[in-house]
């Protein structure tokens, strides 16, 4: 069970943007709350000034309160939004003047006003109330004054501040979001650069990464380097192992074969000669099988570490022709290279060589003497190497399975072979993004096409 991979950059960006959003909202709310308090305070201060000026204007005459309302007491309540003004003046529990029902008289003395917010005359109002006891004969009188004001101007101020706060919050958020994108990109840049530089390397380039990296990445890079060192070691070991194994198997077999041949010359008894020939043939089979097995192992190994180089298919093929012409001559076969100028490809030359050699080997093995074997190198549109002969051709009923491992045809008679040649050719073709095509020619003869891609 593999969890869906998560992008580090996306997570970082989202976290930063989310943080910015939270901060922006917090900023907006704090400003609003603060503005609300300030606006409320300034309204309260004016109400307090008004109610105090009324209180100061009160005098008691013959046990009756006289209050010469100062013009400023109400004039100071003028606001840009023309807020409505209400007031009530009580002597003890009796309304002397103003609006009934605004606020009841309270008994306790309060020189600093008590503020409250409530509905009055169809609007929300802020009320400031003071109560004071004035000395008088025969007994002191209590004076309660309330001044109230609607909150239209306050609401207007708040709206303006809210809009400004929202604009600033939004701008802050956009800025922070931009910075979050930039930060996450630049933070992860070293990581991407390392990945790119490692990906750009050739398959056999297992040198340690030496560029200076941020401290957070150095554990990753040093374990990567350790891993590559180990890998390099084991690869070198495998390659030498394969070469060593081939050598170890073939050398004793060659020795045994030469002994058998010498013995064959000495013995005269027909049945002994028969047995020796069977022995030599078995040795040939084993030697061939060992060689092909090791080649196959080599192909499998190189396929995983494909090392593409700029090579010319024609050059490779003409090299093979040069090497195999003596063999062909011995079999009275004519080996021909057909080409129309160089065919450059990016490929592993050792693998291509191996595949073509196996195909040519088949053509030489399975065709009768005095025939022609052609190697045709073409490039339309993909590069191909075609090997044709004029022999018996592939067995039609087996043609689809011939490239399976150890699969030999029923047409082999006593030809030595292991059934791995076409498997190798096919693996090489697939390693280069192509495939192996087998068909029989109309006029007789087999045709094997190694399709490669650029």
């Amino acid at each position: 069970m593999n969890a869906k991979p998560r992008s580090l950059r996306r997570r970082l960006t989202l976290t930063l943007i989310g943080g910015a959003a939270v901060l922006a909202i917090l900023f907006y709310m704090v400003i609003r709350l603060y503005a609300q308090q300030i606006a409320q305070q300034s309204q309260d201060r004016i109400l307090e000034a008004s109610v105090t000026s009324l209180l100061d204007a009160a005098v008691v005459r013959d046990g009756q309160i006289e209050l010469d309302v100062p013009y400023a007491a109400f004039a100071m309540l003028d606001t840009p939004a023309d807020d409505r003004v209400f007031y009530a003046i009580y002597q003890d529990q009796t309304l002397l003047s103003g609006y009934a029902g605004l606020e009841g008289a309270t008994a306790q003395t309060r020189r600093t006003p008590a503020f409250s917010t409530r509905d009055f005359a169809g609007a929300q109002v802020r009320v400031a109330t003071v109560t004071q006891t004035l000395p008088a004969n025969p007994r002191p009188v209590s004076l309660t004054i309330s001044v109230a004001q609607t909150r239209d101007s306050l609401a207007g101020t708040l709206l303006t501040i809210s809009i400004n706060a929202a604009v600033f919050g939004g701008a802050f958020f956009l800025l922070a979001a931009g910075m979050a994108l930039w930060t996450s990109a630049s933070t992860l840049r070293p990581l991407r650069q390392i990945a790119e530089s490692v990906a750009r390397r050739g398959p056999s380039d297992l040198r340690p990464v030496t560029r200076t990296v941020p401290t957070e990445l150095s554990p990753l890079v040093s374990s990567l380097n350790a891993l590559m060192t180990r890998l390099n070691l084991s690869l070198t070991q495998s390659e030498t192992f394969i070469a060593e194994a081939a050598h170890r198997v073939r050398t004793p077999l060659a020795t045994v074969r030469s002994h058998a041949e010498v013995t064959l010359m000495r013995v005269d008894k027909d049945e002994n000669r028969q047995a020796l020939r069977a022995m030599i043939r078995a040795i040939d089979e084993s030697s061939r099988a060992a060689g092909q097995l090791l080649d196959h192992a080599m192909v499998t190994f190189r396929r995983d570490q494909l090392e593409r180089q700029d090579i010319d298919l024609v050059a490779i093929c003409s090299d093979i022709v040069d090497r195999l012409t003596p063999v062909a001559d011995m079999m009275d076969l004519d080996l021909m290279l057909v080409d129309q100028g160089p065919v450059p490809v990016k490929a592993d030359p050792i693998l291509i060589q191996n595949a073509v050699r196996n195909l040519v080997d088949n053509a030489l093995k399975y065709s009768p003497p005095d025939k022609v074997v052609r190697i045709i190198v073409a490039c339309d549109p993909d590069p191909t190497i075609t090997v044709t002969d004029q022999g018996i051709g592939f067995p039609d009923d087996q043609i689809d399975m011939l490239s399976n491992r150890f699969q030999r045809g029923n047409n082999v008679k006593d030809t030595v072979g292991s059934g791995l040649g076409l498997t190798i050719a096919q693996d090489v073709a697939e390693a280069h993004g192509g495939h192996l095509e087998l068909k029989n020619l109309k006029g007789g003869g087999a045709c094997a096409v190694l399709h490669l891609s650029h």
Binding site: L67, D68, V69, F74, A75, L77, R84, I89
Partner: protein
């Protein structure tokens, strides 16, 4: 049935109110589909040209024009909130109180200059200074007083000549008189000295500008204080007999204000009327020297002494303040 009862109720309400009104007249529109009910402190004669001008522009709106004293207007509205659609009054303080108490509708569509409106519900549309009007014959050979101080000196110089020949508003009866008096008192102490001189000369007290100007023209009065000068200026029969003086020390200037009652069911027609009044078109098209000088038509910039629409106007309406003021006023005038 219910509709009939409703009509009956309205008729009854109308009859019951009839006694409160000084005048009531319907100005019919040619294609009348609705009738706008206007309660005003301005007499019908003075306001008729404005109303006919409005009807010419709005031929579907008839106007039922009722006139009452500015103080009575408050009582009428208090008793029957939905008997009228529009209230026009010269008592700015009482109008402001109506708006402050939430009886006036906000008219966001009306766009007057900022100084002449309050809460977008109370709109001033005239500038009318309080003046000193003198009987020209009585002052023949005497220096014409240009300020209150000069008036005091003129009166003191010849008390026997002026005794019983000076007059002003009875501020206990007239809302406009009270507004002028309180604003004068707020502005300068000279007012009180003038009232003391008036009291010592046995001043006559009037309910309205019209009556004062009549008496001036007939020679029963030599000096009238705080009269709407524009009234005197437009009456052809009085024009030659009086001299109108706008005091140069300070001239308390009142704005006639209009508001639309919140209970109205004809908000659009009412808004149109307010727009018509605040536009000042009526003053431009009508005869020159029309008694109501529209804002901005007669003087640009507005005169210095204009009473502003602000909560401070509520101060003199306070019961305690009013009784103190009236007490002081009475003791100054009734010596």
């Amino acid at each position: 049935m219910r509709g009939l009862a409703f009509v009956a109720l309205i008729l009854w309400a109308g009859l019951a109110r009839a006694a409160d009104f000084e005048e009531r007249q319907v100005f019919d529109a040619p294609e009348a589909t609705q009738t706008l009910r206007v309660l005003s402190s301005t007499d019908t004669d003075s306001f008729a040209p404005v109303l006919t001008g409005f009807i010419a522009q709005n031929p579907s709106v008839s106007i039922d024009y009722a006139v009452a004293g500015s103080a009575d207007i408050v009582d009428i509205i208090a008793q029957c909130g939905d008997c009228f659609d529009v209230v026009i009054s010269s008592a700015m303080d009482l109008q402001l109180k109506l708006a402050n108490d939430g009886l006036a509708r906000r008219l966001p569509d009306v766009d007057p200059s900022a100084g002449s409106q309050w809460r977008q519900s109370l709109f001033g549309f005239t500038h009318e200074p309080a003046t000193i009007v003198l009987n020209r014959a009585a002052f023949a050979g005497r220096p014409m007083p240009k300020t209150r101080q000069e008036l005091i000196e003129a009166l003191r110089a010849d008390p026997e000549f002026f005794r019983g020949k000076v007059g002003t508003y009875d501020v206990r009866l007239s809302g406009l008189g009270y507004l002028f008096a309180t604003q004068d008192a707020r502005t300068s102490e000279t007012y009180w000295r003038l009232m003391e001189v008036f009291g010592s000369l046995g001043a006559l007290l009037y309910c309205c500008s019209g009556a004062m100007i009549d008496d001036l023209a007939q020679g029963d009065l030599f000096v009238a204080y705080n009269v709407l000068g524009s009234y005197a200026a437009t009456r052809p029969e009085t024009r030659e007999k009086v001299t109108i003086i706008t005091p140069t020390d300070f001239a308390t200037t009142m704005m006639r204000t209009v508001l639309v009652l919140d209970t109205t069911s004809q908000a659009e027609a009412a808004t149109n009327l307010v727009r018509y009044l605040t536009s000042g078109i009526w003053a431009e098209t009508d005869r020159p020297g029309y008694p109501l000088p529209a804002i901005g038509v007669t003087e640009v910039p507005p005169p210095a002494g204009v009473v502003t629409l602000e909560p401070g106007l509520l101060v003199y309406l306070d019961a305690l303040k009013r009784s103190l003021f009236l007490g002081a006023w009475s003791s100054a005038l009734e010596q």
